[in-house]
Amino acid sequence: MTGPARYANPYLAGAALGAVLLAAFLLTGHGLGASGAMSAVVSAGVEAVAPTHARANPLFGAWTGADGSRSPLSDWIVIEVLALMAGAAISARLAGRWRATVDRGPGITDRRRLAWAAGGGALMACGARLARGCTSGLGLTGGATLSVGAWAFLLALFVGGYAAAPLFRKAWR
């Protein structure tokens, strides 16, 4: 075979993802997550530099504990996200898809694309923390448990995305 393998059928891949999510509920009682690992890493960083400040903060303190007794980096979600990255890397290698690149449309430079990726990441982090979860921890997990707030978040996410899409068109098309 010459080129990389084609991606899987989206319904098949979605069913596999749903099976992993269901297994998460059966094994742990909670679902999957992603952005929580970022909170854990940041909280550990703030704790290392300014422990008193970290423990007094409502976000960081929830990860470090009021007395610093919790270790954010050994939390379940940090291990889960590291395993996610390992699984994705192995899967891409096996499919001949692993390639160092900058994913962008033809109308934008690599440099600007990287800046927009960082800016988008910062905005998403703010949105996820305000909503108390991201597409994984709130959207997928809360969606499957039929949480009202999760479905409201998903609806708002698509509204925000479609509303902002014209602004960022040249990054992609």
């Binding site: 099976a19 992993v20 699984g87 994705a88 960082a118 809360g142 969606g143 707030g149 479905w151 992609w172």
Partner: protein, 190 residues
Amino acid sequence: MSALPLDASGPVASAVSAVLLGAGFGVALERAGLGDARKLTGQFYGTDFAVFKVMFTAIVVAAVGLAGLEALGVVDAARVYVAPTWLVPQVAGGLVFGVGFVMGGYCPGTGCTAAATGRLDGVALIGGMLAGTFLFGEALPYLGRLYGATPLGTLAIPALLGAPPLAVASGVAVLAVLAFVTLERLTTAP
């Protein structure tokens, strides 16, 4: 009492479940092509609906599976975490998140998939998320009114409708299938 969910709270059991479930999560996202920013953002330009298809298929499979196992008494519903509802901050957060998604090209889980498969923009996105999380944490003491608005507690759609969870999950499955059929007709039209 139902045996499930398992109590995997010990350090070894917890690490094993995190590794197995995380790896499965990463493989599913990579195979679906959701580590690919142009494919993901195609959702917002009407060129590729993989985000919608993968996400709602996954939600329906897990929702029907979970509600079905709870109805059979195999899973103890009281021990399954249901994300609490904070309506106003979740709608506001969703709007901001959606803008960030189309600007950055990934959501957090798919951004990690992208970074792990060689995409430097995925790495930049993770850097941005760490910075954004830090800034949000520093701002949170001043955002209390918005962050704490409309606390509705654990509120699930079945309770709101007064219907059994399995009926609601099945209803969502029917709606999803109708949406998929419509989407396939629209996108394969000559």
